[in-house]
Amino acid sequence: MKSYIAPLLGVALLVGACSKADDTVNVQQLNQQFISAWNNQNAAQIDSLLAPDVQFVQGSTHFKGKEEVAAKWVRETLTTITDLKTNVVSSETDSKIAYEAGTFSVDVLPVDPAQPHAYGEGNFLLLWKKNAAGSWRLSYAQLEDLPVQLRN
């Protein structure tokens, strides 16, 4: 009788561990993918990570829906910055939701060659949600930017 208990316990443990791994997500990986898309200026990849009802909040602007966010945030900003980096201060995941929040820094490209290079810093929050198909999509992004400083 005892000889059956140990294998059963092992199987139960394995099943439990596997199901837990399926439920949660590696939010660092999600954000790395998202940030890489920005740095590679890959608008299509950024779009693919946005949820249909994504919301973007920055200062006094609030964009709702994938189309508006893609047009007014992603397309408007993508060509003006480079070398986006994030520093995560807070992070959490569960079976349906995951977020990362912290600070960011980015190089701001000059509008015309005569203008100086600059860099920006600020705070960010990226919130991901799992959709019905089991894919994780960016549901909410909030940025708070500090004044853009001239490069030395």
């Binding site: 920055q58 200062g59 006094s60 900003t77 701001v108 930017d145 004044p147 853009v148 400083q149 030395n152």
Partner: protein, 163 residues
């Protein structure tokens, strides 16, 4: 004889008023209230004297007092309007001077050496004059869409939108 007296009084008041107006124009030191009071009093006295045929003196005094008060009120109103116009003009001049200082030809503003701004609510980096003592490269980009409500930070004189 009586008619001659009235005409003489009328002439004297008229001369007095003309003299006052000329003096006021020449000196330009009279306040609008004083001018209004004097002109009102003179005109009121003349009117009162002409209207009250039974007692010209009493009519003149009453008319003068009423006219003076009315003239003072008109002068005070004019003075208030002048002061308001001057205040608005001064504010406009100050705003224009501030804009000229904040937006030099290089489209850069000097800023403190240390990063004074760290995300405090409603805080703005302190702007210093464009003197040579301002450290190089410690400036901030100016907000070219300042006042445009469709942009993220329309009330910030410095550009805040980066990512």
């Amino acid at each position: 004889m009586k008619k001659v007296k009235i005409n003489l009084a009328f002439l004297l008041v008229l001369l007095f008023l003309t003299g006052l107006t000329t003096q006021a124009q020449a000196q330009k030191k009279w306040s609008p209230q004083a001018k209004g009071t004097v002109i009102g009093a003179g005109a009121g006295a003349l009117g009162g004297a002409l209207i009250n045929k039974r007692n010209r003196a009493a009519g003149g005094v009453v008319g003068g007092v009423v006219g003076g008060a009315a003239g003072y009120a008109i002068g005070k109103h004019k003075d208030n309007k002048n002061k308001e116009a001057a205040r608005v003009a001064a504010a406009n001049r100050a705003a224009a001077a501030k804009q000229a200082t904040a937006r030099p030809a290089t489209s850069q503003a000097a800023a403190p050496a240390a990063l004074a701004y760290r995300g405090g609510a409603g805080q703005q980096p302190v702007m210093v004059s464009n003197s040579s003592s301002a450290p190089a490269g410690a400036g901030f980009l100016l907000n070219t869409t300042y006042g445009d409500a469709s942009t993220p930070y329309p009330t910030s004189e410095y550009r805040r939108k980066s990512w």
